[in-house]
Symmetry: C2
Subunit: 594 residues, 2 copies
C-alpha cells in the first residue's frame, strides 16, 4: 500500500548532492534502480532524471520497521528517503556523479510500488523497439532517452532565446486551416458545424508567415508542429517539428548570417561543438557534380568524377549509349577497396539498381597494378589506363562507374558513396560537417505530370540574373533557395520569397495553375500582395533531425517522446482507432466498407 | 513597377533613430503611413513594427527623378529610403518616439506598390470585425494589434525562460492522438493508412504529461495548441493555446509557489504590474457564498448575503417555497442604485432569467428611507426592515434577491453582480486582482445523465481529509484542485493528480466507467500506474485569455494572429472548405448528403 509524501519535501535531486553536503540531512525521492543486501545492510541505487545516488539502510539508523520496509523494496518502486549524507565507506564509484558519497537513511516511505517491468530500465537496452514503444512510459525512463529529450528541450529553449534577442517575434499560426500548396498529402479534419467541409492540418506555416511579413511583423519565429500524410518511409513521422522563421527587408546573406550564429550558439552550448564560421557554401550544381547529392556528406571524400570525355569514343556501348542519350559517365574511387570480394561488389550493383541504375561498371585494381573489370573486354588497354588515370586509381583501389541520364548517375553514385563510407566506418558521429547548398534549380520537370513543379515551393524567388530566362528557358532558372546540410542530412532549408506580383503570377503560370486555381487555393496571399509587400525570406529547420544528429542517434524516434511507427500508428495508445457512430453522424460522414 | 532592394541594407528600424544620430546617414525601410506635400517639400510618415519616422523629400537633395518618384508614393507603399538624420526643422512632435528628428532623403526605392486598402491602417479603427478578419493581413498592420502580438510573444518567451530556470523541461506531446477523456467533443482526423480509423486532436496533453511524470521527467512544460469542437460560445476558439505544466514530488503549495513567482515575473516584465505575493486564496465554498462564482471578480464588493434565516417565516411564498425545497434566499446590495428606473430593473430581471432565475425580487430604498419593493405586500413592515438591515441597506440602495436552489441563486447573483458592476464602470482594466480558488468539489451530480461527473477531470486527487467519504458521501468530497482567477476570469487551473491505483479505480467507478471502458479509453495510463508513480500535480493556463487581460482587450480574437469566428470558420482563408472526391476516397469516407 502506497504512502503519502505528506510532511516531506524533497531537498535535492539525486546528483545535486556531493561531498560538500557531508553531514547534512537531505530528503530525496525517486525510483529504485537496484536493491541489494550486503551483510546486515541494504543498498539501494536511487534514480531520478539527474542520475543515481546510493542509499544505505542500516537497522541501527532506521529501526526495525523501517529496515523491514526497505527489505520489501523492489526495482522501480518510488520511494522517499530522509537521511544523512556521508562519505562512502566502501570504494568510491567513479562512474557515478555521486560516487564519493552515500545517504544513510533514517526515514523511508514507499510512495508507489511497482510490478516487474516488461524490460529492464537501463542504458542502451537491447529490447525490441515494438515492445519499447508499447511501454513507452517505461522506455522513457532509460537514461539515454532522457538525455535525448533533455537535449531537445535545451535546443528549443536556446533557439527561442537567441532568436528573441535577434528581434524575432514568436507568433502562432493556425493548426486548423486550409489545404496548403506544399504538394504532399494533407491530413484533413472534418467540420461538424459545416458538414462536408474540412480543415487541413498545416504542412508548414508557409503562407501564414509570409502574410505576417506583409503585415509588418518584420521577424517571425515559431517552433511548430507540421503534418504530412506521406507514404511511409524509413524515418518519417506524420507529425514533425519545425523551427520556423521569416525575415523582412533581407536577402540571402542576411538569413544565412543570423542562422550561422544560431547554429554555432546552439551546438556550442548543447554539445560543446565548435562550428567554424562562415559555414562553407556550395552551389547545387557543384554539389551534384562532386557528390551526386544536394545534401553532400563532407565527412569523407570519394568524390564523383565526370569521365564522359575519356570514354566518349570507347568501345563500351553502355558508356557511349548513355552519352548519346544526353547522359554522362561518372565514377567514384573507393580507395583501398580493390580487394573487395565479388559477392560484396555484386551487392553494391544491386544497391545501385535500387537507385535506378541498370548496372554498375567497376575496375578493381590489384596490388600489383593488374585489374579486374566488368567491362575490360570492351575497351583497349590504353582506354582503360586513361580511365584509371582520370580516376587517380592506384593499386588496391576500387573504381565504380555509372552511366545514364545525369539525374540517375548522380543518385546512384551519391548513394553508393555514402553506402561505402558507412560500411568502412567513415561516418563518424562525433564530426559535424556543415554546408550551405545554394542556387537550386527553381523548377523540376515532372515526366509523370508532363509539367514543371516547384523544386522548393511556388513562392520561391528566381535569381535576379536568371529572371529573363523565366520565359525562354524556365528549366535553367536558378532559385534564391538554400539548404543547410549537416553530415549528409538536410537539417533545414529556405528561400527568398517572391514579393512582386508579376513574378508570382508568372511562376504560378509556369507551374500550370490557372488564375482560378491559384485564387481558389491561396487567393488570400495573392490578395495580400496587392497592398505593399516587403522583400522577405525565411528558413525552417527539422528539429527532430537536428536533435537526432546532435544526440548521435540513427532514428528520429529516439528524440521524440511519443513517436509513431511506420504505418503511422502509436503502439502505446493504439491511435488511430475506431470512433462512435454518433461522432461520425455529427460530422455527416460514412465509412465506405471494402 | 517594384524595385529590388539589391545593394541596400536596412541600418535601423524607424524608432531606433534619435537625436544622437543627427548627422548620420541611415537606410530605413517600411510602409508609407501618410504622404503630404508642403510647399516644395514632400513629407512621408514611414511605419514599421517599431513605430513612425518622418522623411522629407526635397528636390535639392534627391534630384528631379527621385522627387517625382516620391510624388507618386501612396499609402501602404513599401519603400526604402537612404538619407541623413537631422533635427526637425518644424515643431517637435511629442506624440512620436522620433518626434525630434527627421530623415532628409537622398535615395528612394519603391519596393512594392499598394492598392488603396479597404480600410485605413490606424489605431483603434472602427471598422466592422468581419471586414477586418477577411483582410486580417491588413488588420494586423494596425499598431494596437501589433502591440498585442508583441506582448504575447514576450509573455511566451519570458514564461519559457522562467520555467527553464526552474528546472522544467519542454517536451512535445502528440497532436495526432487518441480521444482523451476531457469530456468535450474531439476534433477527429481520419487515417488513410487505416481506413475507418481516426486520430483525435488533443483537448489537452493531460494523459501524456502524467505519463512523463511516470517516466521520471520531474518537471514538464509546454506552450501547446489544444482543440475542442465545442458548441459555439461568445469568446471561444476551436484551437487555443495552453501554458501547460506538470511537476513530480510536489503538493499544492509547491505548485502555487512557483506559479505565483511566474505570474509576478511575467506581469512585472511585460506590463509593469506588481502582483502582491502571496496571492490570496479562497475555498470554492467561500467563493460561491460570497460572490456566487467560482471565479470571483475582486475588483469590487457587492458581495452576496444569505438571508434565508431572516425570511424563513415570512409571508412571501417565493422565498419560503425555495427554502422548503432545500434552496436559499440571497441578496446583493447595489449601493447607490436605489433610483434605478423601473425599465432598467426590469432589464436586470430579464438578465437574471437568462441565468435560470424564475424572477428577481428587489427593494429600492429611496433617499428619504421609504422604499419600493416587488414583494413588499407579502411581508410585514418588521420583516421588511429586518431584511433591509441584514443587507445593510441605506437610503439610495438597491437590494436584489434571488431564491431557488443554491446553484441557481449563486449563478444568478454572481452574474448580476458583474453585470451591475460593468454598467457602473467598476471593471477597471488597469487593476489586476488575482485569486486562487481551492477545495473544489471533486464531483458534480449531473441530473441529465443521473450520475456523477468529474468537476476537474477523472485524474484529480481527493483531499486526504475527505478520502473516507469517497464511498459514503462522494458528493461532499473536496478535490486537491485549484484555479487561478484574474479579474473574474479563470486564467488557469490544475490539481494534484491521483497517483495511487486503488484511488484511481474508485474514482473511475464513481464516474460510471466499467473496467473495460476505462481500459479502452486510457488503459495505457492505468497500465503505467502499475510501475511506480511519483506524486504529481500540474496546472495549465489559457494563454489567449491571460494575454487578453494583460492587453486590456475584451476578446481573445485581439490577441490571436489568425482567429476564427463563432462558427469556427476563418474569414480570410475560407477554412473549412470542400475537398476533392479523390481525397475522400483515399480516406474511405463518404459525405452523407442531407
Amino acid at each position: 500500500m502506497a504512502e503519502s509524501m505528506k510532511g516531506l519535501k524533497r531537498s535535492n535531486r539525486c546528483t545535486e548532492i556531493g561531498v560538500e553536503n557531508v553531514g547534512q540531512v537531505v530528503t530525496v525521492m525517486g525510483w529504485v534502480q537496484k536493491r541489494r543486501n550486503l551483510g546486515s545492510l541494504i543498498f539501494v541505487d536511487l534514480r531520478d532524471r539527474s542520475g543515481l545516488l546510493q542509499i544505505i539502510f542500516d537497522e541501527n539508523d532506521i529501526g526495525k520497521e523501517g529496515f523491514e520496509k526497505a527489505y520489501g523494496i523492489r526495482n522501480e518502486f518510488v520511494i522517499a528517503v530522509v537521511g544523512q549524507v556521508e562519505k562512502r565507506s566502501g570504494a568510491v564509484n567513479e562512474n557515478l556523479a555521486t560516487g564519493e558519497i552515500e545517504i544513510r537513511a533514517t526515514q523511508l516511505r514507499i510512495l508507489s510500488e511497482s510490478e516487474t517491468p516488461p524490460f529492464p530500465i537501463e542504458e542502451n537496452s537491447n529490447v525490441k523497439e515494438e515492445l519499447r514503444l508499447k511501454y513507452r512510459y517505461l522506455d522513457l525512463r532509460r537514461p539515454d532517452l532522457q538525455n535525448n529529450l533533455i537535449m531537445r528541450s535545451k535546443v528549443a529553449t536556446l533557439t527561442r532565446l537567441f532568436l528573441a534577442n535577434e528581434g524575432f517575434l514568436e507568433i502562432e499560426t493556425p493548426m486548423l486551416t486550409k489545404s496548403t500548396p506544399e504538394g504532399a498529402r494533407d491530413y484533413l479534419v472534418p467540420s461538424r458545424v459545416h458538414p462536408g467541409n474540412f480543415y487541413a492540418l498545416p504542412q508548414s506555416p508557409q503562407l501564414f508567415k509570409q502574410l505576417l511579413m506583409c503585415s509588418g511583423y518584420d521577424r517571425y519565429m515559431q517552433i511548430v508542429k507540421c503534418f504530412r500524410d506521406e507514404d511511409l518511409r524509413a524515418d518519417r513521422q506524420p507529425e514533425f517539428t519545425q523551427i520556423d522563421m521569416e525575415l523582412s527587408f533581407v536577402d540571402i546573406d542576411d538569413v544565412i548570417e543570423v542562422n550561422e550564429r544560431l547554429l554555432a550558439h546552439v551546438f556550442k552550448e548543447v554539445i560543446d561543438v565548435d562550428v567554424q564560421l562562415p559555414i562553407q557554401r556550395m552551389t547545387w550544381q557543384v554539389a551534384m557534380d562532386r557528390f551526386g547529392s544536394d545534401k553532400p556528406d563532407l565527412r569523407f571524400g570519394m568524390e564523383l568524377k565526370d569521365v564522359s570525355n575519356i570514354v566518349k569514343d570507347c568501345g563500351f556501348v553502355v558508356f557511349t549509349g548513355a552519352l548519346e542519350n544526353g547522359g554522362s559517365v561518372r565514377g567514384i574511387n573507393a580507395n583501398g577497396q580493390g580487394a573487395m570480394p565479388r559477392k560484396k561488389i555484386d551487392a553494391l550493383v544491386e544497391f545501385a539498381k535500387g537507385y535506378g541504375a541498370k548496372g554498375l561498371a567497376y575496375i578493381a585494381i590489384n596490388e600489383d597494378g593488374t585489374f579486374k573489370s566488368s567491362f575490360g573486354k570492351f575497351m583497349t588497354e590504353d582506354e582503360m589506363q586513361a580511365l584509371i588515370d582520370a580516376m587517380e586509381g592506384k593499386p588496391g583501389d576500387l573504381l565504380l562507374f555509372s552511366s545514364d541520364k545525369n539525374k540517375i548517375v548522380w543518385n546512384v553514385l551519391g548513394a553508393l558513396r555514402v553506402e561505402i563510407a558507412n560500411s568502412l566506418g567513415l561516418l563518424d558521429k562525433n564530426i559535424f560537417e556543415f554546408l550551405w547548398v545554394t542556387e537550386f534549380p527553381l523548377l523540376e520537370f515532372s515526366e509523370e505530370e508532363n509539367r514543371f513543379t516547384a523544386m522548393h515551393h511556388p513562392f520561391t524567388m528566381p535569381m535576379e540574373e536568371d529572371l529573363d530566362k523565366l520565359e525562354s528557358d524556365p528549366g535553367s532558372v536558378r532559385a534564391k533557395a538554400y539548404d543547410i546540410v549537416l553530415n549528409g542530412t538536410e537539417i533545414g532549408g529556405g528561400s527568398v520569397r517572391i514579393s512582386q506580383n508579376h513574378i508570382q503570377e508568372k511562376m504560378l503560370e509556369l507551374l500550370g495553375f490557372t488564375k482560378e486555381d491559384a485564387y481558389e487555393r491561396f487567393g488570400f496571399l495573392l490578395d495580400a500582395f496587392k497592398y505593399g509587400v516587403p522583400p522577405h525570406a525565411g528558413l525552417a529547420y527539422g528539429l527532430d533531425r537536428m536533435v537526432m544528429l546532435m544526440a548521435k542517434k540513427d532514428s528520429i524516434r529516439d528524440v521524440i517522446a511519443f513517436p509513431k511507427i511506420k504505418d503511422a500508428t502509436c503502439l502505446m495508445t493504439d491511435a488511430p482507432n475506431v470512433v462512435d457512430a454518433k461522432q461520425l453522424k455529427e460530422l455527416a460522414l460514412e465509412i465506405i466498407e471494402k
